[in-house]
């Protein structure tokens, strides 16, 4: 398959992630959409790594994976913390900065 096919699939998955962030109001699903976007970029990295015949793209996937893990840990801790104080995790109702 040509490189463009993989990049198109990657673009479509990225867009699905963007739409998820735009239309959903449950922060857990917004997080999952962000994971979708990260994975779409990972797919394009691996495809480019394969077609450029270089291992560098896979390095970046490895680093993105680590950043995603750190992001999920902090984000889910934030959501649990918000749920603990407000007993509600609707993003539209998170409009107060103080806890």
């Amino acid at each position: 398959m040509p490189l463009t096919a993989y990049l198109i699939v990657s673009a479509v998955i990225f867009t699905i992630g963007v739409i998820g962030v735009l239309i959903r109001r449950n922060p857990l699903i917004i997080f999952m959409s962000i994971e979708l976007m990260l994975n779409a970029v990972n797919l394009s990295f691996v495809a480019l790594s394969h077609f450029l015949d270089s291992v560098d793209g896979q390095m970046f996937v490895f680093l993105v994976l680590t950043v995603a893990a750190a992001e999920v840990v902090v984000g889910l801790a934030l959501i649990v913390s918000i749920f603990r104080t407000r007993h509600n995790i609707d993003v539209d109702e998170m409009n107060v900065l103080r806890g």
Binding site: I8, I16, I29, E35, S49, Q58, L63, A70, V73, V74
Partner: protein, 177 residues
């Protein structure tokens, strides 16, 4: 060649369908399970692109560890939040979101078809991937050689990032009273 095309199309359709499932399911648990399927299909994509190590890491870390964490929090918080998406919705939110998504995918595809000029430069000081795989007798060895020679500094910075994430989780998870 035909098998390659068929497997690519099947994988692409399955990946996109499960990705749509992530944002379409009402129940957050179903979304999480759909995301796990998406990650598994992406791992199959990586296998197809001969990135064995990344595929295995994807299954172990992403579909395993990260999604377990997700499901843990989803089952802890979202069991009574199923109706969340229906209540108080901004009326044109979905339409505008879908429209913006269409614009984005059109722009990305346009760029890919017209402007994508890919030239290869390597930062890892390694030889080309296929050469490295034959030299080090495997994908994982080539990966490790590149990681610890050209990408040593980013790899070490990663450990700092993980320490910061652990501290953040500790601070947010602490009970204040």
């Amino acid at each position: 060649m035909t098998f390659e095309i068929v497997s690519f199309v099947v994988l692409a359709v399955a990946t996109v369908a499960t990705a749509i499932g992530v944002i379409a399911f009402k129940n957050a648990i179903h979304s999480a399970l759909s995301l796990i399927l998406t990650l598994l299909f992406l791992a199959l994509f990586y296998l197809q692109l001969q990135a064995m190590f990344i595929a295995v890491v994807q299954i172990l870390i992403y579909a395993g560890a990260i999604m377990v964490l997700f499901l843990f929090v989803v089952t802890m918080l979202a069991s009574d939040q199923d109706e969340l998406a229906l209540r108080n919705q901004i009326p044109w939110q979905r339409m505008v979101g879908g429209l913006l998504g269409l614009i984005l995918v059109a722009a990305l595809s346009y760029l890919l078809f017209t402007g994508a000029q890919v030239t290869g430069t390597t930062a890892s000081h390694a030889e080309s991937l296929k050469q490295a795989i034959t030299t080090y007798q495997g994908d994982t060895q080539a990966f490790g050689m590149a990681l610890f020679h050209g990408f040593l500094f980013p790899f070490e910075v990663t450990s700092l990032l993980i320490v910061v994430a652990i501290l953040g989780a500790l601070v947010f998870g602490r009970r204040t009273n």
